[in-house]
């Protein structure tokens, strides 16, 4: 093999990775277009797009239809994209920096914290400020509480040398404690509150409306751009602490920066829709099967695949059952078999 061919081979591989991401992005656009036409309210595809065009051009004819398509389906679909991309990127980076395939954005206890915050709000009616509406109380409580476990982990990381395993174990310990408090609250809760908390823990996009979209959109976009800008350093961290340090990376600082950024974006997204699982853990692994683990390719591929996956899951969730299902349930139901199939079928060894 000559020299030139060798490099060409690498580029060929790289083009395939970019192709996977591009296909996912095209898939996202297509699924997004389709998702606007799906739902229980009986509208044809043409009608749906007519409603959107009408809304954009400012002459709303069908007020009911406008409300369904523009005010309900559009924000939900957008949110599915944001949420899927955020969780999958968070998972990919957590796995890389903690060097653990079982890590996901919730490894730092974000889900248990958010869940406790939501429970406090739903059951005890606690709020950060008395002027907040019920919905806003829930969101703010979930957000603030989701960051407490991360704060605990960061505190220990600052006062003591923490290894990735210790970070994961502290996260698990805090998670159990928060879950215990949540369970304690649930014992005293009314049936309606229990149902609400239960639904929140599974995660659902059904309640998303336009005002929920801008903040997660901005925060997630900025965080993902930042993480991508650091992807070369993050990639080195796969080689372990000693090698990383000898390649000029302050692993401790980098780990903490990434944890803060990932927990911020995850918390902002999760506090509006509940703790949607699966996509953060398995999304990046499915992306790994296709593009490998080099961070500069894995990050965009995870974002695109995560978005596509949650969007499709949400399309199914919208029409399944009598009143639709929570997207969290659907994503696990279709995602797990897909993942196991890929795991067994693909020859590429992305894991040890």
């Amino acid at each position: 093999m000559t020299f030139k061919e060798g490099k060409e081979e690498y580029y060929q591989g790289a083009r395939k990775k970019v192709l996977f991401t591009t296909l996912c992005v095209i898939g996202v656009v297509a699924a997004f277009m389709i998702s606007l036409t799906i739902g229980f309210y009986d509208l044809t595809v043409v009608e749906c797009y007519q409603i959107i065009i009408n809304h954009i051009t400012g002459n709303i004819e069908d007020v009911m239809g406008d409300d369904i398509v523009w005010n309900t389906r559009l924000p939900i679909s957008l949110y599915a994209i944001i949420c899927g991309a955020t969780l999958a990127v968070g998972g990919a980076i957590m796995q890389t920096i903690l060097r653990n395939p079982l890590a996901d954005p919730y490894t730092m206890g974000i889900s248990s914290g958010a869940s406790l915050g939501a429970s406090l709000s739903i059951i005890l009616g606690l709020s950060l400020w008395s002027g907040f509406s019920d919905d806003l109380s829930l969101v703010t409580m979930a957000f603030v509480f989701s960051l407490i476990p991360v704060g605990v982990i960061l505190f220990f990381s600052i006062v003591r040398k923490t290894t990735p395993s210790k970070i994961i174990l502290i996260g698990i310990a805090v998670m159990y404690m928060f879950s215990a408090i949540t369970s304690l609250l649930m014992v005293t809760a009314s049936e309606e509150s229990l149902a609400e908390i239960y639904a929140w823990n599974i995660g659902s996009l059904a309640t998303i409306t336009w005002p929920d979209v801008p903040l997660p959109l901005i925060v997630s976009t900025l965080c993902i751009i930042f993480l991508y800008s650091q992807s070369r350093s993050i990639n080195v961290m796969m080689s372990g602490e000693n090698t990383s340090r000898s390649l000029g990376i302050n692993t401790r600082r980098m780990t903490m920066i990434c944890m803060v950024v990932i927990s911020m974006m995850t918390a902002v997204v999760v506090c509006f829709c509940g703790t949607i699982g699966f996509v953060g853990l398995v999304g990046p692994h499915i992306a790994r099967v296709f593009v490998g683990s080099e961070t500069r390719y894995l990050l965009p591929a995870s974002a695109a695949f995560g978005a596509l996956f949650l969007l499709v899951a949400n399309c199914i969730a919208m029409v399944a059952g009598t009143f639709g299902l929570p997207v969290g349930v659907v994503s696990s139901l279709i995602g797990c078999p897909l993942f196991i199939f890929l795991l067994l079928k693909m020859r590429r060894k992305a894991w040890k």
Binding site: L247, S293, K352
Partner: protein
């Protein structure tokens, strides 16, 4: 891959290091000057890895100073240091499987930026060719043998283009052919590229055969330093390893024959019922 200037010098003065109450290194003083293959030998737990880690700032000595080319390591940033000192760990423990090219490419990090991928790939492939593993380029790291792993790790250290390359037991897990091959490559590279290669070794004979100089650590201190002939004496091996030996000279290099007074002169033969036979 040429060096802009050829001076390479490490000065270690009064370095001590301890994990809590147990001192691992005590008052280490050492000057290493010029490109060469330098082996660090000594029993397990004597502080060989710790010494190497103090040179490349993975650990900070509790006392004393390490200077590289006259610059105090403790006031050099990790990033600046990474351009001078490369490190190849005892065993690769990358968390996820990458291809060989991707694995080696990580070593370019101190020099690379967003636009340098093409140049970095040139250097990666050049290095793979140099140590004869270019054919493995697109293979998955996990599919390779232990000897190939070691060469890939060596390549990762080399693409970092360091003036000083530190290796922690680079030939452990290798069969004799690969031990010799990897060590010979390192010795040759130290001369061709003018780099100072420092390796930790447990195989005294391999180290003696290829090293220009050796350091023998004992109880956290430098017990002996110099050429293999100066360091590997019967007395030194007895004191440091508590092993009796004979040292013979072969092709100008010392060769150690281990002796075991508790066994050698008193080998009891097996009974006739215990045997093996090739069929």
């Amino acid at each position: 891959m040429e060096m802009s200037d050829n001076k390479i010098r490490i000065d270690i003065e009064g370095v001590e290091f301890g994990y809590s109450a147990n001192p691992v290194l005590k008052n280490i003083g050492l000057t290493v000057n010029g490109p060469q293959l330098l082996s660090i030998i000594g029993p397990n737990g004597v502080g060989k890895s710790t010494l190497i880690h103090c040179i490349n700032k993975i650990l900070s000595p509790t006392k004393g100073v390490v200077c590289i080319d006259g610059e105090d390591v403790s006031s050099t940033t990790l990033k600046e240091l990474a351009k001078k000192v490369g490190y190849v760990p005892y065993a690769a423990n990358d968390a996820f499987t990458l291809s060989v090219v991707e694995t080696v490419l990580i070593g370019r990090h101190p020099h690379s930026n967003w636009k340098s991928l093409d140049h970095d790939l040139d250097i990666v492939y050049e290095t793979l060719r140099l140590i004869n593993i270019e054919h493995l380029a697109m293979r998955s790291f996990d599919e390779l043998s232990a000897g190939q792993h070691q060469k890939v790790m060596l390549a990762r250290g080399l693409v970092q283009e360091p003036k000083i390359l530190l290796l922690d037991e680079p030939t452990s897990n290798l069969d004799i052919k690969h031990q010799m091959e990897v060590t010979r490559i390192m010795r040759n590279l130290s001369q061709e590229k003018g780099i100072l290669v420092i390796m930790i070794s447990h195989d005294l004979n391999i180290a003696a055969k290829y090293s220009d100089n050796m350091i023998m650590l004992y109880d956290g201190e430098i017990y002996a330093a110099g050429t293999p002939e100066e360091v590997l004496t019967v007395e030194n091996i007895k004191t440091v390893y508590d092993v009796e030996s004979e040292v013979v000279v072969s092709h100008g290099r010392p060769h150690i024959i281990m002796l075991d007074p508790e066994f050698d002169d008193d080998v009891s033969p097996l009974d006739e019922e215990t045997f093996i036979r090739k069929i």
